[in-house]
C-alpha cells in the first residue's frame, strides 16, 4: 500500500481524534461561605475518556455543572470546540454538544422511550405528531448502542441500567460530542457495567470526549485514558492514566496533612454494650455485624453511598430490617419503629439536620421537648411546663448550647449549636448508644471541634458512640476504632491510631463485583 497515503491518513485521524474540545482555564467559583473552585483548569480531548477524580467535596461536580451551564463561574475562561463562552446557559451548553448523564436519572417515568428521547423537540406533521418517525429514529440510536429496548416501552418499567442507556441514546440523538458521566456505574451490576464500557469505547471511537467521574478506582483501568485529580476545590495534577500507580492516585486525592487538630480523649474501654448481628436491610445493608463498647467512639468510614446511613436508619427502626439481631446490654431488642429504639436508649442524630433532625419552624424548647413528651406530660397529656423548663435548662447547660433564649426558632442558631440541640433531645432519656450520622457536615472548623468535644463528653460518660463520617481525617482523629463499609458490606476494621488514609480508602473501594473486562468477553 502507498506508504505516504497511510501515514497521511493516520495523521489526519489523530488530528481528528486528539484535538482539545473542552478547555477550562483558571475557573473560580464561590458559594456563600465556601470557595468551591479555586483556579481550576481542565482539558478534554476528543476520543478520550478523562477520569475526573477527587474525594467527596473536592469540586468535581461543581466543575462539571459549570461546563454544562447549570452554575455560572465567578471568573475564568471556558472554550468548547475552540469557541469561547462568556455566559453559558444549560441550553447553550446543550447546543454546543455537552450532555450530562446524571447519577439520579432525569426522565419522565410515565412516557415511553421514544417520547422521552424526543421530549421538547418532537417531530411534527401538519396536524399531529409523527410518532412512527420518532420511534424509528429512537430505534436507530438504540440500535447504534446495541441495546435491546423497544422505543414504545414505558420508561418507568425499565431497570435503571436500561434507563441510563436511554439517556445516552438521547444524548447521541441531540448530537452531543461531550458526555459527562457522574458515577454511572453506581447502580449497575457487573454485567451491565461491562455493557456500559463497551458503549463508552464505541463513543470514543466515534470521536466523543467523555468525562468520567467515579469513586470506583479499580474500574478506571478498563476505560480511562487520562486522569485529572482535584482536592479541596483545587486542581492537583493531570496526566496519562497509565503513568500513575493506584497509590499515587490515592495519595494525590487525599493529599493533606493527616494529623490535624482533633481533641481525642483517652478513656478506659468498658464492657460491650451494643451488638449488631447479621443485619440485612435492602441492597445497601448486607450482613452487617459490629459491637460497640462503653467509653468508645467507633468511626464508620466509607464513600458516599456505602450504606452507612442506611445502616443507621435500619438500626433506629426507620427502614424495615429483613433479618438480623440488635442486642443492648445482652438483651435482644425488637425495634420496628423509632420510638422502640428511643425507649431502649439507642438514639440517632441524623445526617440531614434540617430535614430529619429538627423541626426548624419550632423553638429550641419545643425541639428539645419533642421526643420527651411522654416524660414531661401528666396523665391527661398536658405538658408540665416546670419539668419542660428543667429539661431544657439541663440540656443547654450540659452541652453548653449558646443561645439568647429557649424561645428562639432553632434555625436561627449556628450549625454547631443546632447539632447540640439534636443531641440534647436525647440526653434526658439516659441513652446508652448515640449514633451520629455526618454530624460535622456543612459546619465550620470551630463548630466541628465543639462537636468532637460533645462526642468525647458522651464517651467519658460511658456512652457508646457510633460516628459515621465521610471525612477521613476526623474519623482517624476522633474515633478509637474504624469500621469501613463499601457497597452495603463491612469491608474491614482498623485501629484508628495505627492506620492510614490509604488503607481506609482501599477498604472503602473494595467492591465485591469485579469488573469483567470488556476486551475479552463477547
Amino acid at each position: 500500500m502507498d506508504l505516504e497515503r497511510v501515514t497521511g491518513l493516520i495523521a489526519e485521524e489523530s488530528k481528528g481524534m486528539n484535538e482539545v474540545i473542552v478547555s477550562m482555564q483558571h475557573i473560580n467559583k464561590s458559594f456563600p461561605g465556601v470557595k468551591a473552585l479555586d483556579d481550576v483548569s481542565f482539558e478534554l480531548r476528543s476520543g478520550e475518556v478523562m477520569a475526573l477524580l477527587g474525594e467527596n467535596g473536592a469540586g468535581k461536580s461543581t466543575l462539571m455543572k459549570i461546563l454544562s451551564g447549570v452554575y455560572t463561574r465567578d471568573s475564568g475562561e471556558l472554550y468548547i470546540f475552540g469557541k469561547e463562552y462568556a455566559d453559558l446557559s444549560p441550553r447553550l451548553a446543550r447546543e454546543a454538544g455537552v450532555a450530562i448523564i446524571h447519577q439520579e436519572l432525569n426522565m419522565c417515568r410515565h412516557l415511553s422511550v421514544a417520547e422521552n428521547m424526543f421530549l421538547g423537540r418532537e417531530l411534527r406533521g401538519r396536524l399531529s405528531l409523527r410518532n412512527a418517525d420518532m420511534e424509528r429514529e429512537a430505534r436507530k440510536y438504540l440500535d447504534e448502542l446495541g441495546v435491546d429496548i423497544s422505543p414504545r416501552q414505558t420508561v418507568g418499567d425499565l431497570p435503571v441500567s436500561k434507563q441510563q442507556m436511554i439517556e445516552i441514546a438521547k444524548a447521541l440523538s441531540v448530537n452531543a460530542r461531550i458526555l459527562i458521566m457522574d458515577e454511572p456505574t453506581s447502580a449497575l451490576t457487573s454485567r451491565e457495567i461491562d455493557d456500559l464500557f463497551k458503549i463508552i469505547r464505541q463513543l470514543k471511537a466515534q470521536g466523543c470526549g467523555i468525562v468520567y467521574i467515579s469513586h470506583r478506582l479499580e474500574e478506571l483501568s478498563h476505560i480511562a485514558d487520562r486522569v485529572t485529580i482535584m482536592r479541596d476545590g483545587q486542581y492537583i495534577t493531570e496526566g496519562n492514566f497509565s503513568d500513575f500507580t493506584m497509590d499515587e492516585i490515592i495519595q494525590n486525592m487525599v493529599g493533606r496533612e493527616i494529623k490535624e487538630k482533633f481533641p481525642r480523649v483517652s478513656c478506659k474501654k468498658g464492657r460491650k454494650v451494643f451488638e449488631v448481628k447479621h443485619l440485612n436491610a435492602g441492597r445497601m445493608v448486607r450482613d452487617v455485624s459490629f459491637d460497640l463498647y462503653e467509653g468508645e467512639i467507633v468511626g464508620f468510614a466509607g464513600l458516599m453511598g456505602a450504606g452507612r446511613t442506611e445502616t443507621t436508619r435500619a438500626i433506629f427502626g426507620i427502614d424495615p430490617k429483613e433479618s438480623g439481631e440488635i442486642i443492648l446490654n445482652g438483651e435482644s431488642l425488637s425495634i420496628n419503629k423509632p420510638m422502640d429504639s428511643i425507649k431502649a436508649g439507642v438514639v440517632l442524630a441524623p445526617e440531614d439536620r434540617k430535614k430529619d433532625g429538627l423541626c426548624t419552624k419550632l423553638s429550641v424548647r419545643q425541639n428539645l421537648a419533642l421526643p420527651n413528651l411522654d416524660i414531661i406530660c401528666n396523665k391527661a397529656g398536658v405538658v408540665r411546663s416546670g419539668e419542660e423548663k428543667e429539661l431544657c435548662d439541663k440540656a443547654i447547660a450540659d452541652l453548653r448550647i449558646k443561645l439568647p433564649d429557649t424561645e428562639v426558632n432553632v434555625d436561627t442558631l449556628s450549625g454547631g449549636n443546632q447539632q447540640k440541640v439534636v443531641v440534647g433531645k436525647w440526653l434526658a432519656r439516659n441513652s446508652k448508644v448515640v449514633i451520629f450520622d455526618e454530624p460535622t457536615r456543612g459546619i465550620d472548623v470551630g463548630a466541628k471541634v465543639e462537636i468532637y468535644n460533645l462526642m468525647n463528653n458522651l464517651k467519658e460518660q460511658g456512652i457508646a458512640v457510633m460516628f459515621v463520617s465521610s471525612e477521613m481525617p476526623e474519623v482517624m482523629g476522633i474515633a478509637d476504632r474504624i469500621i469501613v463499609m463499601c457497597d452495603g458490606r463491612i469491608t474491614g476494621e482498623l485501629d484508628a491510631k495505627a492506620t492510614s488514609q490509604n488503607e481506609i480508602l482501599k477498604l472503602a473501594t473494595a467492591f465485591e463485583n469485579k469488573i469483567i473486562s470488556a476486551d475479552d468477553g463477547k
Binding site: N106, M107, R109, L111, L119, R121, E135, D143, D148
Partner: protein
Amino acid sequence: MTGDKRGVFTPAGRCEMNNRKGIKRILAIRGMGAAITAFAGLIVIYVAFGILNPKVFSGQNILNLLRSMSKYLLIGIGQSYVMITGNIDLSIGSVVGMSAMLTATLMTLGVPPLVAMLISLCCGLMIGVINGFLVGKFRLPPFIATLGTMFVARGIGYMVNGNRNTDNIGIKLGKEVGDRFQDFFYYGKTAGIYNTFWIALVIFIALFFLLSKTRTGRHIYAIGSNVDAARLSGVDVVATTIKTYLVSAFCSVVVGFILCAQAGMGNMEAGNTYEMYAVAAGVIGGVSPLGGSGLLLGTFAGAAVWQTLENGLNMVGAQVGIQRIVIGVIVVFAVLADAVLRTGNGLKKSK
C-alpha cells in the same frame, strides 16, 4: 470489534411492530387498561339498574342519560387536562356559574346571544389565564391559587345581576330568540340525539386529539410525570400549564351555556361543586390526580358512570342520601384500586 453486532435484532423487531395491529395495539396504549375497566364498570352498573327497573333501558332514558352526562363529560375533560399535569382546578364550578349568569344577564339586557356568549367566554378564559399564571409562573400551590379564583368567579357571578337570579332570557330578545338558544344547547335534537351531547362530543374529539396526538399534549403528560426533566428538555412549563387551565375554563364556560339554556335563566348557584364532580369523573376513568397518566377516554367512561349512577339510583327510588354515599364510595374505591395496583399489591409484598 463492536460494530458488527449492530442491527442484529432490528429487522425482526420492526416487522413485528408493523404487523401488530388491532386490539393488541390498542391495549398497549398507556392508561387504556383503566379506561377499559371504567367502561366495563359502566356496563355492569347500567345493566344492574336495568334489571332493577327496565325503564332504564328505554330509548328516552338513554337520550336523557346522554344529555345529562354531557355536562360531567365537559368539566371532566377540563379537570383531566389539569390533573394530568399534576395540578387541580377548583374554580371549575364557579366559572360554570359565572358563565351562566353573565350570558343570561346580558341576554335579558337585550344583547344578542352570540355576543353574550362571546363576552362570557372571554371572562371565563381570563380566569383560566390567571390560574395558569399563578400556578405555572408564580408556582403557587394549585389548590390555593384556584381556591382564590373559585371565590372570585362565584362573586362575579353573584354581582352581575345584583345578587339575584335573572329573569327569563327571552324577556327583551323575544321568546323566539330565547327558545332558539335553549334548543341549540339543551332541548333540540339532531339526528335523534339531544344537541347537548353532540356539542360535548365534538369538543371531546377535538380535545382528545389535542391531548393524544399533538406536541402540547405530549408536554402536558411530561410535566405531570417529571416537571424538572420536562423543563431541562426544553418544554415551556408555564405556557403548557396555562393551556391546561384555558382548556378547563373553556369547558366550564360551555357548561355554563348549557345550564343557562336548560333553565332559560341565570341561576346564581349554577355549577356549585362541579369541580369535585369533575375530579370524580376523571379519577373513576383512571386519570391520576398525581399527574402523568390518564386518558380522556377514561374520563368519558367516568362521566358516564357518574351519570348512570345518579340516573339509576333515581329510577330505583333511592333517596338522595344513598346516592351520595354510593358515589363517594365508588370514587374512593377507584383510586384505592389504582393505588394498590400501582404499588404492586402493597400489603402482600412487604416481607
